[in-house]
Symmetry: D2
C-alpha cells in the first residue's frame, strides 16, 4: 500500500503529471515546533534543476493543510500537497503504447491492466518529494532528541570517494563526499549524459546519536526496516548495513565488535545488533541503478506484443543516485523516528515515567 | 512486533531455552492440501546437527494444533509448536552478567532492562525454525500455482561458487552451489571451526515462475519486502536484488532489460521493476556475517560496566549462513505468498472472476 | 490513527478551520469507472445548509488529485481535498480557553497538551465530508457487484418512524423514513432549535445484496468492523446489528434464523452469523446523541481549572443524527468494500479463478 | 484476521475440538511481574461447568511457553496454549452435513468451502478462553497504573438488576449484579434450560481510573475500539457507551456533561468524549443473544440444499451472556491496555520524560 511506517506513518498519493502530489504524516507527537523554512529547504535539495539533474522546472513548494496550530504540531495528521506545474505530457505521447526498458511500465500494466503513462505516472521518482517532506517532519522530531541523519554520494560509475566529508557533501551540487575527486565525478556524469547514457551510484547514510534500544523484536528490526526503506527507493538494488556484503569474507574474530568501558571499540555492525540500535553510528549504504531513461534507441514491445524501438524524449537525471541521496536521508529519518515512537512503550520504566 | 506479512501473517514466539517455540500462520486460503511430510522435511533441513552445524540435538518435530481439517487448510489460523528439548542452560551461566560481542545481549538489555541470557533468549537463531515452518506452509500455497523458491550457498570466506547448481545444492550438506569446489568450502569451514573462529557466507535465492504483477504500490514493493525479509534474518548485513551493488558501476544502456516478442532479453533487474515482479526469475543475494559465538577470548563489559573477558561455552554453528540458506528460502516463500494474496484484489477483472 | 480499513484504506486529514480537509483512498482496484457526478452528489447530501442543519455555507467541492486516468481508477491512491471556505474562527475566540461541555475540548487537551479550538479543530464533524467522499468511491466498487447501502433517520427525540421507506427518505430533507410523521419530526427539530437546545436521533442502515462470506475470522468480524465504523462517527453512543439490544430478552427458539430451500426464513441476526455475512440484508442501527453545541449557558472550567460559564456562538446542527445518516452510509460502504477485497483470497478456488 | 489490538496484540488459534487452543500476546512492556495464580483464576471464571453453564469439563490450565524470565515479562511475545481435553466430537456427527440455525455453519462454509463442524470449529466460544488469558496479562499491566476493569450481568430475559453491586457479582455464580433478584435470574435460566431453550443477557462493563487522554484520533477512537471488541464477542448484537441508545431521545441540555472544579458533574458520555477518555468511569453495555444451540427441533438445510430437521446433542450454556461477561472484561482490558501503550507517544512531553 501507499503508507510507510507503523507509529509514524507517511501516506502519499500522486502521479508525475497529475494536478499535485501530496501526503499525510500521521502520528507526529503534539508539541513539536515546526520550522517551515527547514522543511522547504529539504524539498529544495531534492528539487529538479541544474546541470546534474533533470531540467524539469518545479518550484516544489510544499503547502501544509492541517495538523499545525500556532506553530506547533497538534497530534493531528499533517496533510500537505506539492503542485505539479511543469508537466510536459506530450513528451510521452510516443511511449503511450509501449513499455520503456528499465521502467515499471510493463509491471504496472501487468498488475492493473491500465497505466498512466505520462511521466511514468505513480512509478515516477517525482513521488519522492513527498518522502522528503515526510522525512523533514521526522527530522524535527529527531532534532528534539539530538538525533541527526545525513547522506552523501560515495560512488558514481567507477569513481569512488576516498574520504567521507559530510560538510563538503552538504554544499556539493552532487552531494559528493570527497572534495579531492569531485571534479572527476562531475565530469563523468556530464560525459555520460552527453553520450545519451546514464550512471549508477552509491549513497552512504549515517544516523548519529540515536539511543540504544531502537528496533522491534523480531520482525520489525531496525535493520530490516532500513533495508525496506532503502530498497523501496526508486532504483535501489542493494542495501548494506555496517560492513555489509564484506561480512561474507570475514571471520567472527574480526567482525565482532568488542567493548570496553567507553563502549564499543569498533563498529563493524553499523550500529545495529540483533536488529536493535546499540548507540553507535548507524551506517547504511544504498546502491542506485543508472537512470533507466536514456536517449539511445532500445528494443521493446508494445501493448499488442509487437517488437518496436523505444526512443525517449523528456527531461531526465543522468544519475538518479545524486538526488536519491536526499531521499535516502528522508527514509532513514522516517524509520528512526518511527522506532523512537514504537520504543516508548518497550518497558514498564518508560511508561511509569509518563503516567506517574 | 513479532509478526511478518500483511495478508499471510506469520507470528512467532519462543526463546532458545524456553519450553517450546512456535507460531501462528494466519491468512492461508482454505482448501490447500497439507503435506505434513514436506513440512517436517523442511524443518529437518534447518535442524541442528552434523559437522558443519551446532551439535545441539533437537528433533524439531513440528506439532500442528489447529487450522487443518481432513487434510486441508480451513481458512483458520494454523497454530504450531516445536519443543525445545536439548537446552543446556548451564552453558550460559558465565555470560549471565556480561554482553557477548556480536550478539544482541547489550541491545536487548538497553531496550528492555531485562534479558533472558540463556542461549540468547529470543534473539537466538533458534526462532528461525518457526520461519521455516511458516515458509513451508507458504510453499504449499505457491506449489498450487507452480511457483518455487530455492536457495544455495555461493560463498564462504574467500571461496566462491563458480557455477550455480541448485540440484547439487539440495543434496549438499552445506547447501553449496558448485560441486567443483565444495570440498574446499567444507575444508575452510572445518579449519575455521578448529581454529575456534567462524565464517561469513553469501546465499543466493531464486524465485521461479512467479506471475508478473506481484508487489504493492508504493511502500510495500516486492523488492522492499524481500529486503526486509532477508535483512531481518539473524546475521544478514547486505541484500541485493538482480545485479545488486554492481549497478553503481553500470550504464543505463547496459543495465536496462530490453524486450522482444519472447519477453525480457536480459534480467539485470532480478525480476522486479518498479517494485513489481515482471515474470522473470526473482534473484536475491543475502550476505551473512560470521557466527558471533566464537571460542576465542574477547574483551567486553558486564552489567556494571566493568571490563571483563568473554569466554564462551555451548554449541554453535561455525558458519550461520549455511543453515541460514534454509531460512532465506522460507522468508522468500512467505513474501511471495503474501504478495500473491495481496494482489488478488489489484484490479476489477480479478474480482469479477471471483464474485461473478 | 487517522486511517480506516485494511485492504481499502481511507486516511484523512484536516481541521474545521484549516485551509482544507482531505484524504487518500488506497487499495481501490484498478479499472473502476469513476462517476464524478455521483461522488459530488454524495458530498452534497452531507453539505451544511438548510433549516435543519448548520447555516455554515460550504460548497464542499471535492477535488481529485490522483489515481484516475482516462476516467478509470488506476490502482494507485486517490488523493482528494475539500476546501474550507466559510470559517468564522472569531466565533470561537471566547471558548479558546475553556472546555465546551459535550465536546472533545477537554480530552484533546489532556492527550496532546495543545488544542486547535477553532470550530473544534480535528474533532469537528466537518471531517466527515472526507468519509463521505471515501464512501462514495467504495460505492462505485460495490455497484460493480450490485451491492447497495442506504440509511434513513428513524427516530428524533420521542418521535419514531412507523414505516421504513428508503425511497421517501432519499428525498426527505431530514432523511426521514416515514412520510406519515415527517412533519412532526421536522417540527420537533425546529422547536428544539428555537429553544436553543438540540436533539438525539436513530439512524437505520441497510446493506443489500452483499454476498455470503464477507467478514474476517476472528478479530475483524463484519459486525465488529461495522460497530467500530458506526461508533466512531461523531456523536454515536450505541450500535445494534439485527435485533440488537432486544436479543437480551429473547429465547433461542425465537431468535435463531431457521432455513428452508429458499434460504433464511427470518433475519433476526441482521445478515451476520459468526461475524460473516449470510447473504441477507445487513441491518445496523446507530444512535446519535444530541448536538453538544447548544445556546444555553452551561457551567464548565477553563484551562486554569477555574469555573466559568460557557456561552456558545457559531452555527450548529440542531440534530447531528440527520446529516450523520449520510456518514453512516459512507462508513458502511467502506466496511463492506474492505471486506469484499479481503475475502478475495479466502479460499483456493477464488485464487485459482484469478491466477489460472 | 486472528489478531486483536495495535500495540498490544493478541493473536489466537484453535478450534473447539482440536488438540489445543492458544495464542501469542505481543507488545507487553518488559518488567511486569507475572502473577500466574491471577491469570489461572481468570481462566477459571470462564471455565465450563456448573448448573448455569455447559457441562463440558475442561481444566483450562493455561501453559505459558515464552516471554517470561525470572517472573517478569521480557518484552518478548508470550506464547501460551490451553489443551482441549473433553471433546465429544461424536456429538456432532449428525450435524456434519447441515447448517445449525443461529450458528456460523452456513457462513463459514460460504466463505471457505470447507468447515470443521466439530463443536463449531473455530467459531466456537471456546476460543474466548484465549481472550481471557490475553485480558489477564493486560490486567497485570493495568494494575501497575491502578486501572481496573469489571463486568456483571444486569439482565437475563425480562429480569433486570435494579442495583449494581460488583462485589456481589464477583462472588455470584452467574455474575449477577443484584443480590435482591439473583434467585429469580437463576430460576429463569434453569427453567429455560429445562424447556430446551436458551436466554439472552446484558452485560455491564466498567473501566475505573483510566487516565484522561486514551484513544486515538480519528479512526481508532476508544469508543470505536470498545465497540469492535464487544461486538466481536460471540453472540453480542448491541453495544452501548454511557447513556447508549437512550441518547436518541435526549436533549443536548440534559445529555451534555458539564464541569466544575472537581471535574465532570455527570457522566452521560460514559467516560469518553470525542473518542478519548476523560478520566471518568468508562461505561459499556453489551447485549448477548440467546445461545443458538437449543434442544428443540429446528428446520434447516443440508450441504445439498435439501430441507432437514436439526436436532442437537452436545453440551451447551443456557445463557452465553453469563460466561460472556468474563470475556467482556477481558476485551475491555485488552483495549484499554492497547490505548495506554499507543498514547505513550502522543506528545513531546511524554517522550522527553522517557528519553531525557
Amino acid at each position: 500500500m501507499n503508507t510507510f511506517g507503523n507509529k509514524l506513518k507517511l501516506s502519499t498519493f500522486g502521479e508525475s503529471h497529475g494536478t499535485a502530489i501530496g501526503g499525510i504524516i500521521d502520528g507526529l507527537p503534539a508539541g513539536i515546533k515546526v520550522d517551515m523554512e527547514f522543511i522547504q529547504n529539504e524539498l529544495d535539495k531534492r528539487r529538479p534543476g541544474g546541470k546534474y539533474a533533470t531540467s524539469r522546472k518545479e518550484s516544489d513548494k510544499v503547502e501544509i493543510l492541517s495538523g499545525i496550530y500556532d506553530g506547533f504540531t497538534t497530534g493531528c495528521p499533517v496533510g500537505f500537497i506539492i503542485a505539479n506545474t511543469s508537466q510536459h505530457s506530450k513528451d510521452y505521447d510516443n511511449i503511450k503504447d509501449l513499455f520503456r526498458p528499465g521502467h515499471a511500465d510493463y509491471t504496472y500494466f501487468a498488475k492493473f491492466g491500465i497505466r498512466d503513462h505520462r511521466g511514468g505516472g505513480r512509478s515516477s521518482a517525482r513521488e519522492s518529494a513527498c518522502r522528503v517532506a515526510g522525512g523533514a517532519f521526522a527530522a524535527l522530531l529527531l532534532a528534539e532528541f539530538g538525533i541527526s541523519v545525513q547522506s552523501c554520494v560515495t560512488q558514481v560509475g567507477d569513481i569512488k570517494a576516498k574520504d567521507i566529508d559530510f560538510d563538503f557533501a552538504n554544499s556539493s551540487e552532487i552531494f559528493w563526499a570527497d572534495q579531492s575527486n569531485q571534479d572527476s565525478a562531475k565530469e563523468l556524469i556530464l560525459n555520460t549524459k552527453n553520450d545519451n547514457d546514464s550512471l549508477g551510484a552509491t549513497v552512504l547514510t549515517i544516523i548519529k546519536d540515536a539511543p540504544a534500544g531502537l528496533g522491534e523484536v523480531l520482525y520489525n528490526k531496525l535493520d530490516a526496516a532500513l533495508a525496506s526503506a532503502m530498497m523501496g527507493i526508486n532504483g535501489v538494488k542493494g542495501v548494506e548495513i555496517g560492513d555489509g556484503i564484506d561480512v561474507a569474507n570475514m571471520l567472527g574474530s574480526s567482525n565482532n565488535d568488542c567493548m570496553n568501558k567507553d563502549g564499543f571499540i569498533t563498529n563493524h555492525c553499523g550500529g545495529i545488533l540483533g536488529g536493535i540500535s546499540n548507540g553507535n553510528d548507524i551506517v547504511i549504504k544504498s546502491h542506485f541503478k543508472p537512470t533507466p531513461s536514456i536517449f539511445k534507441a532500445q528494443p521493446t514491445i508494445n501493448l499488442d506484443g509487437n517488437e518496436v524501438i523505444c526512443e525517449l524524449r523528456g527531461r531526465h537525471d543522468p544519475c538518479i543516485g545524486v538526488r536519491g541521496s536526499v531521499v535516502a536521508t528522508a527514509m532513514a529519518r522516517l524509520v528512526i523516528a518511527d522506532m523512537l515512537l514504537l520504543n516508548a512503550s518497550a518497558n514498564l520504566n518508560n511508561l511509569k515515567r509518563i503516567y506517574e
